[in-house]
Symmetry: C4
Subunit: 229 residues, 4 copies
């Protein structure tokens, strides 16, 4: 093979926890780009926030998530105050701010993902108050959960403004200590983890399980039982 044969990863940020500020900014852009192409962040919706020690990195509101650049990113403290505005003028911090902060405060999360993935949204309409599933290998990917556990994710009602979700999201996080996510009816899902890699893995497992539930329902099998009787 020629020198062409040295494989290079498409995404360049390695599997690391310790990030410089520049890397944290680039990482958010890279993840938003990736999530957009997975259908989690279209129409300027969805997004991701990463905490680097006491510094919280967050995307601006209402922009095309797949085209963000590092100079568009806000830095906040753990109280949610902007301590470094983006270099790009005219941007406002994401409306998800108070929701992301709850995961940081109540669960000591290292990263939070908000997704409008269509199967996440559809799964909220299959169940009344909680998403429930069992008998699925992908449950092992959820922190502290086994393949044969009955795993529940709370579903809260949607509101006219994103900020109005804050109280019910807080209640749901407290009421479901085993869940790493909160679903919002007709809207999508918030998912967190102890760092960006963990949050991303949780998000991939949950999105897989939401799609499984919808497809099992379409096949006439019971989503709550993971397709087994």
């Amino acid at each position: 093979m020629s020198e062409k044969s040295v494989w290079k990863p498409a995404f360049v940020t390695r599997q690391r926890e310790d990030l410089t500020d520049a890397e944290a900014r680039a990482l958010i852009c890279e993840l938003c780009h990736h999530f957009y192409h997975q259908g989690w962040a279209s129409g300027t919706g969805g997004g991701v926030s990463v905490r680097n020690g006491e510094r919280i990195f967050m995307a601006p509101s209402g922009v095309q998530k797949e085209r963000m650049l590092p100079e568009d990113i806000f830095v906040l403290n753990r109280e949610g105050e902007v301590i470094e505005p983006p270099q790009t003028p005219g941007l406002k911090v994401s409306a998800c701010r108070p929701l992301f902060l709850h995961a940081y405060t109540l669960r000591n999360a290292g990263a939070v993902i908000h997704s409008h993935g269509i199967y996440a949204m559809l799964a909220t309409l299959l169940y009344e108050k909680n998403f429930v599933i069992t008998n699925q290998e992908m449950l092992k990917g959820i922190e502290g959960v086994g393949a044969f556990d009955h795993h529940e994710v709370p579903i809260i009602a949607n509101t006219a403004y994103e900020e109005e979700l804050t109280n019910s999201l807080e209640e749901a996080i407290r009421a479901y200590p085993k869940a790493q996510a909160v679903l919002v009816k007709g809207h999508g899902v918030y998912i967190w983890g102890r760092d960006w890699m963990h949050a991303k893995a949780q998000a991939e497992c949950y999105h897989y399980l939401f799609e499984v539930a919808v497809k099992l329902h379409q096949m006439g099998l019971s989503p709550a039982h993971g397709g087994l009787a």
Copy 2:
């Protein structure tokens, strides 16, 4: 991290309104490439037009949308007359011209997208005269619409030639002032916005909602109610 770790966006046109002519040409190519890979512009169908002040940029007719180059683009005035033909010889301006012009004239749009997205087309067959949906977060992405509004998009009959849609499209735009789109039965959709970023976000939200409607129908839930009773 090495120098490899500086993330670069796959698409290079930033989130900007002010474009040079060269940028407007490149932008149309880039967007057509993107829309092709999203399934909105296969089989030489679909397309996008961008207005830069008084100059309207438009793709040629019947070409592979993902392979267009900046030298293939037409420039028209607001009356729809070609004021700069493309450098590439032998091209004809898109048959969508009169339809795009209606959105520019009646709504002062800054960009118009025409899509054959399969869920847009299928959604036209689920409803008689209007697409209707509510209780969906993605409705917030549509200009002036809230998540709990009953949002309607007109569906006009298809015609043997694209130009024959002109009158019914004009009527539909006038009759549905809250819609940012017109669906065409068994065909697809026209969507516009105040600039290319806004039009693209509208298009992403509408395509999401069209897919939701079809999938809710398949799940035995009511599309018009967004899956809620």
Copy 3:
């Protein structure tokens, strides 16, 4: 914008009919790569052949279609005899050879595409002897067909060996002069056009229509009527 902002197409072969031999070889590799990622050519199946005047370019048999290189391509004459073997040793010409030749001979095609696209295959199981559809805009993309025509594509029985399809494919091509394609039951489809761009556009329109038929069936609507009563 910086120099980054000059958009470049992902695929580099322009929209041209006149090709050098080197370009024809590269084009086949590029199209196979593209078709693989569209799900038309997985598991070493599917493929494409391009005719450049009297020289017919064809992929080898049983190789990973997305990893072919220009030196893997065979050149045949119009009788189907190999006139230039590939530089890469140990390759055999595609088993599709006699099937591709029929499209070249009977329809004077400039390119032929063989696809295992899952909706093409599934569509063969929805109908007895012919795929039929109408009331679909994408029909306009098929040579000589209008959106309101009842368009038919023959479906022939599959055989144990690809070469055994030769006679029934020839019969089907002769019996359906308005079709640009022949479906094979439980297998896939052969599609052709006057040059590679035309064949590719035909293939994109047909694959869209096959998917529409399957999805309409799942929605409880009539595929043969394009979802209209």
Copy 4:
């Protein structure tokens, strides 16, 4: 055409059996990246192992499969002992180790793929003990199988820990000598081949057939008969 027109494959490892160690490491990274984007290896699940003579290359446990680098790869002997740990510190060898070894030992495989592809998992819930299908062209891609054969793939029960699958996987491999794969209920599939190219082709054919079975079921047709009565 300009120099831009020389097509280059996205993936650089050619269709070769003979690999250097560096190439084997790069190949595993490249394939994991590819499988992640096909939905076979999300949430740190799934993976691939390649045997180069007596040296077995294997990915680490619990990492993002699309971001692995050559320095993360373990080398094992045919008894499954680590003979070269990865350069990257802190990694553990994949929990699939004993399962991969069974395919190497019992079938003299050259590569083994483990996938969580959603249609593979869903197919395990459509059938009791074996996946069965016939009348499908893609069956020809499975080693020693014809399009009209009734092909069976065993489905074993899932377990709380991946290692606990070892015995039942061994039994299933011995009991189904014509299968190149073993499905795991509510989990996914193990697939092997005589080298990495063959294993990949088997995996693509099987995943196609699993998706066909689920979609035929949704269409009201018989998956076991490949949609034919």
